[in-house]
């Protein structure tokens, strides 16, 4: 069975009376880099929360690598190989940078809730942590509490924690938001490298980043996907242009839409 890495069927979410996600269907094949774009308040983060188990679903079904994960808790979904970052930096502020990354690795390296093993003695674990720190470029910051990192460093660490466990579906919610142009470039390179051979789902406002990284793009407007397709298809899609990209679809490097 060639199941999609991620399969959303009729996903809905109401907050009280308000329908925020109004029936989302989406199939993301394994290995694809998929971007979700849409104006602010469209429900992109909410959709991430639904997929990753943070919110319960009002309706619909979610499949991860062919398995139904609709009603699972976040930790159970994470154990099945889906890992996500957050739009608002979400790290362990009082623990060191090294420990932050290591927390992302503990479960996947089989250490679970062990209280008879010392983390310091786990050679593989610590080597892998160092490798990831090297990869995300935070090696020389590894000993300080994560809470005192700069904003861009915290965003990078957020990605580091997310990819550490080797999940095969990676979801990044606005990984470059608030970064300078050069920081954005570095982050895009990092994302490209760390998601090699994996399925990536990401929310992004920077169209340059989107058209650069994504294999396919979905456009979410008012809780509905109005179009899914290859970057050029999306760029030329009438509905998308009207609803979202406005009148300047060719200016790809600009941040467009209600990004602010």
């Amino acid at each position: 069975m060639s199941a999609s890495a991620l399969s959303l069927q009729g996903i809905r979410k109401d907050f009280g009376e308000t329908q925020i996600i109004r029936g989302v269907d989406l199939e993301i094949p394994a290995g694809e880099r998929h971007a979700i774009i849409g104006p602010n308040g469209a429900g992109k983060s909410t959709l991430f929360h639904l997929i990753s188990g943070k919110y319960s679903k009002t309706g619909g079904r979610i499949g991860l690598n062919g398995e139904d994960v609709t009603t699972l808790e976040p930790y159970a979904i994470a154990r099945k190989g889906l890992s996500r970052s957050f739009q608002i930096t979400n790290i362990f502020p009082r623990m060191t940078v090294f420990e932050n990354v290591r927390c992302g690795l503990l479960w996947s390296m089989g250490l679970k809730y062990a209280f008879w093993k010392l983390v310091g003695r786990q050679k593989d674990l610590n080597e892998r942590t160092s490798e990831i720190l090297e990869m995300i470029g935070l090696t020389d910051r590894q000993a300080i509490p994560a809470g005192v990192l700069t904003y861009a460093e915290q965003r990078t660490l957020e990605i580091g924690i997310t990819i550490a466990g080797g999940a095969n579906v990676i979801m990044l919610d606005e990984p470059t938001a608030g970064m300078s142009a050069s920081e954005t470039d570095q982050t895009v390179e990092l994302i490209r490298r760390v998601t090699e051979g994996k399925t990536l789902v990401m929310v992004e406002h920077d169209m340059g980043v989107v058209f650069d990284l994504a294999d396919r793009i979905s456009v979410l407007v008012y809780g509905e996907i109005i179009a899914t397709g290859k970057p050029e298809e999306i760029r030329n899609n009438k509905a998308v242009q009207e609803a979202y990209l406005g009148e300047a679809p060719e200016e790809e490097t600009e941040t467009v839409g209600g990004a602010h």
Binding site: P74, Y75, A78, N90, C103, Y113, K117, A164
Partner: protein, 418 residues
């Protein structure tokens, strides 16, 4: 110096200190106080596994301490009456198992949430168990409690624990082992994730850990070590009463951990030692000792939330930079008037207490090796003036301390080559 001895240096130093303490402080009273310190250290460390390491604020930790103690004293009686062949050193372990058993039962529902809900449940359970102790007289012994005799077990290496000093060494060994195990727990995956859940429970879930399960494990470990402390208590005092598991004791362990500093492994040890000293020594000198402990707690919460250990650790960077000396003078300038103010404040409180509570005709209060007539307005004037002048001078000196502090910790500018 401990650094010279390698990674275990600090533990070796601690073991030596534990071994020689009763040689230095050999009076029976000191040995009793040190035994009490040992019990408090294990209890406070176990409390901090939840609060400092796991982010769970409990108002009912004495439940596990007390139940561990009660079961230990009952087992002690089985040893005596029914001849159970259990050597005394195993008793704290039995206390620990009962602490663990109750932690498993109560933790199974109380660790579902952290924060206020957890705190309220701990308070409710604490109240509940304390109430049970009045109802189940057979087990808890009613008002007199349950007493036993520790000397009736099979001898261990020829000792029957008749002497206080033998009990000291037994306590010391168990305190050392328990402290080491609690420290090691903090270095295991379960212990590291306890910190992670404390910092950010949501994120912990997204790296594969159930926050509830992580809290539950810390909670159980904490209950186990509290039970060990209870077992040590049973050995030392040979009696347990309702007081050992009620909310006062639960509050006391919170004070020890917090005043010592919940952010550091040694914090609760510092707190346990200090508060045991206050409890045993200061209480001989003044009826108001609990008031002073309360003031110390309030001041810690307000001004040094990282506790006494935090206060010490704050000086680490300046010390590394060799600039601790810069602080000596400003500390003296502010510290001496502060001591004067505190002495004045204590004098006022002691006089007030004496004036209100002494029998008619007894006009002389005794404190600070002085005899003060509390019915002489001049003495009141002096005490109030000393307090006021001390406080004002301290207040005037604080900017200097702050400045010196900033300078000693300024590594960016003056520390460099500029």
């Amino acid at each position: 110096m401990p650094a010279l001895l390698g990674p275990f240096g600090i533990w070796i130093v601690c073991a030596i200190v534990l071994a020689v303490m009763p040689v230095i402080f050999s009076s029976p009273v000191s040995v009793t106080i040190m035994n009490q310190m040992g019990i408090s250290i294990v209890f406070a460390l176990s409390y901090n596994m939840m609060l400092g390491q796991g982010g769970m604020l409990s108002f009912g930790h004495a439940v596990y301490f007390g139940l561990g103690g009660f079961f230990s004293v009952h087992v002690m009686n089985y040893i005596e009456v029914d001849g159970w062949p259990i050597p005394l050193p195993f008793l704290p372990f039995i206390g620990g198992l009962f602490g663990l058993a109750f932690a498993i039962i109560i933790g199974s529902f109380s660790t579902r949430r952290a924060g206020t809900v957890f705190a309220m449940i701990s308070l409710g359970v604490g109240e509940l168990i304390a109430a049970c102790s009045i109802i189940f007289v057979v087990f808890f012994g009613g008002e007199e409690g349950v007493s036993g005799d520790r000397t009736m077990g099979p001898p261990v290496f020829g000792t029957e624990f008749l002497k206080e000093i033998e009990v000291y060494y037994l306590t010391a060994v168990i305190v050392f082992v328990a402290a080491a195990l609690m420290y090691l727990f903090s270095l295991t995956p379960a212990g590291r994730m306890a910190n992670a859940v404390r910092d950010n429970p949501e994120r912990a879930e997204f790296v594969g850990y159930s926050q509830r399960q992580v809290r539950f494990m810390s909670f159980c470990a904490s209950g186990f070590f509290a039970g060990i402390a209870g077992g040590l208590f049973a050995i030392n005092y040979e009696i347990l009463t309702e007081e050992n598991l009620n909310l006062t004791t639960s509050g006391w362990v919170l004070l020890m951990a917090y005043i010592g500093g919940i952010g550091f492994f040694i914090g609760p040890i510092v707190g346990a030692v200090l508060l045991t000293l206050l409890q045993t020594v200061l209480s001989n000198h003044t009826e108001l000792w609990l008031l002073y402990v309360g003031l110390l707690f309030v001041l810690t919460v307000m001004y040094v939330p990282s506790g006494l250990t935090g206060l010490m650790m704050m000086h680490g960077p300046a010390m590394k930079a060799g600039r601790l000396g810069q602080l000596a003078k400003p500390y003296m300038i502010a510290g001496i008037p502060l001591l004067v103010a505190l002495a004045g404040g204590v004098a006022v409180l002691e006089m007030l207490n004496h004036y209100n509570n002494a029998p008619v005709g007894d006009n002389v209060a005794h404190f600070f090796w002085m005899a003060v007539d509390t019915h002489n307005p001049a003495n009141w004037a002096v005490a109030l003036a000393v307090t006021a002048i001390g406080a004002y001078t301290t207040y005037r000196a604080t900017p200097q301390v702050r400045e010196a502090w900033a300078e000693a910790n300024d590594f960016s500018e003056k520390g460099g080559d500029r």
